[in-house]
């Protein structure tokens, strides 16, 4: 793998993470538990899709094959998406949405902070901007996890169920492969190993505040770095890509 290929793969993975989670959140637009929260979720979805858009443009430029942002989003198959499996998990209920968001936000908060030191100027600049937005996302999802966890009996039980169910997708966030290795050596990628302790601290502190139990050691899912996904991604892509595939080249 050349450095250029590694950089393309790396940016694509980042972009996919933002796009897929953003799309998942956007599915709830108009279905929020209250008007204000509906708008908040849509705002966060827009932030994520904004990050994705900037990253896809950069990926297309790095690749130098004449592909565009739209080609990368609408014309790739499921196995060529590299987002974490956590991002694609469905909106079972509001507690699931918030657990998924909180685990991701806690990771992104530490990750983008580390990426600010990237020797790749574009990635470093994007990281600065993204970190500001993610700081708010984390505050938002943390407040909900705490509110529901330390809320009524039912909200506590549902929040705990969501945390337990999604826990098996959390280790994968820190998986690294050859792409990471090449780019860490170049000072471009952030090493994910030291982020584990930071993420665990953020998560432990909040779960405790929310009176939630941290799940014990459970079977952990891996594979998204190689394009392996849960069954949910295919349906998401089918809906997202349908229009563009039915009307090739369609633009807004």
């Amino acid at each position: 793998m050349t450095k250029q290929e590694a950089l393309f793969n790396y940016i694509l993975r980042l972009a996919d993470n933002n796009l897929i989670l953003g799309h998942r959140l956007s599915e709830t637009c108009g279905h929020g538990p209250m008007l204000e929260e509906d708008i908040a979720s849509a705002n966060i979805a827009l932030d994520l899709i904004g990050h994705a858009s900037a990253l896809y443009q950069y990926a297309a430029k790095v690749e130098e094959k004449g592909r565009t942002e739209d080609d990368l989003v609408y014309l790739r198959e499921e196995r060529n998406f590299f987002n974490s499996q956590l991002a694609e998990q469905p909106n079972i209920d509001f507690a699931y949405m918030m657990a998924r968001q909180f685990f991701t936000d806690a990771f992104d908060f530490h990750y983008y902070n580390a990426l600010k030191n990237s020797k790749d100027e574009t990635l470093a600049a994007l990281a600065v901007k993204t970190h500001k937005e993610v700081t708010y996302h984390l505050r938002h999802s943390s407040a909900w996890v705490e509110r529901l966890g330390d809320g009524t009996e039912e909200s506590h039980q549902r929040m705990q169920a969501a945390v337990d169910e999604l826990w098996r997708f959390t280790e994968e966030l820190f998986d690294m492969n050859e792409t990471d290795k090449i780019l860490i050596a170049e000072g471009i990628a952030a090493d994910l190993e030291p982020l584990k302790a930071l993420w665990n601290k953020t998560v432990n502190e909040l779960l405790e505040k929310a009176t939630l139990k941290k799940p014990g050691s459970v079977w952990q899912q891996h594979g998204s770095r190689e394009g392996k996904h849960t069954e949910h991604l295919g349906f998401l892509l089918a809906e997202m890509q349908n229009l563009h595939r039915a009307h090739p080249g369609a633009t807004w």
């Binding site: 538990p33 209250m34 008007l35 204000e36 929260e37 708008i39 908040a40 705002n43 708010y136 505050r139 938002h140 407040a143 509110r147």
Partner: protein
């Protein structure tokens, strides 16, 4: 009627620039203070409208009522000397 699950009403005040007064922008529903602040942020400052937000439980605001108009406000009408219209405002003074 089904119980309203939207939370209580909070009034939102946004400051557009440092040093400016906080102005009433509207209201939000929320179940607690942090939610009220976040909802206000999401509804009223997403397009760079603000540098600071206040949220206040609507029930904490004491308002005059329409019947008070006569006794509260009309006595000022015929006392022109109460208005600062006899001063010359130097050029370059803003926010008066």
């Amino acid at each position: 009627m089904a119980k309203d699950s939207q939370g209580v009403l909070w009034e939102v005040f946004v400051q557009s620039k440092p040093g400016q007064p906080h102005k009433h922008s509207g209201s939000v529903h929320a179940h607690d203070r942090e939610m009220a602040l976040q909802n206000a942020r999401d509804l009223y400052t997403r397009r760079s409208e603000g540098t600071s937000i206040w949220v206040i439980p609507a029930e904490a605001i004491i308002a005059s009522s329409p019947e008070d108009i006569g006794s509260f406000f009309e006595p000022a009408n015929d006392k022109v000397y109460r208005h600062p219209t006899f001063y010359h405002v130097p050029e370059g003074i803003t926010h008066m």
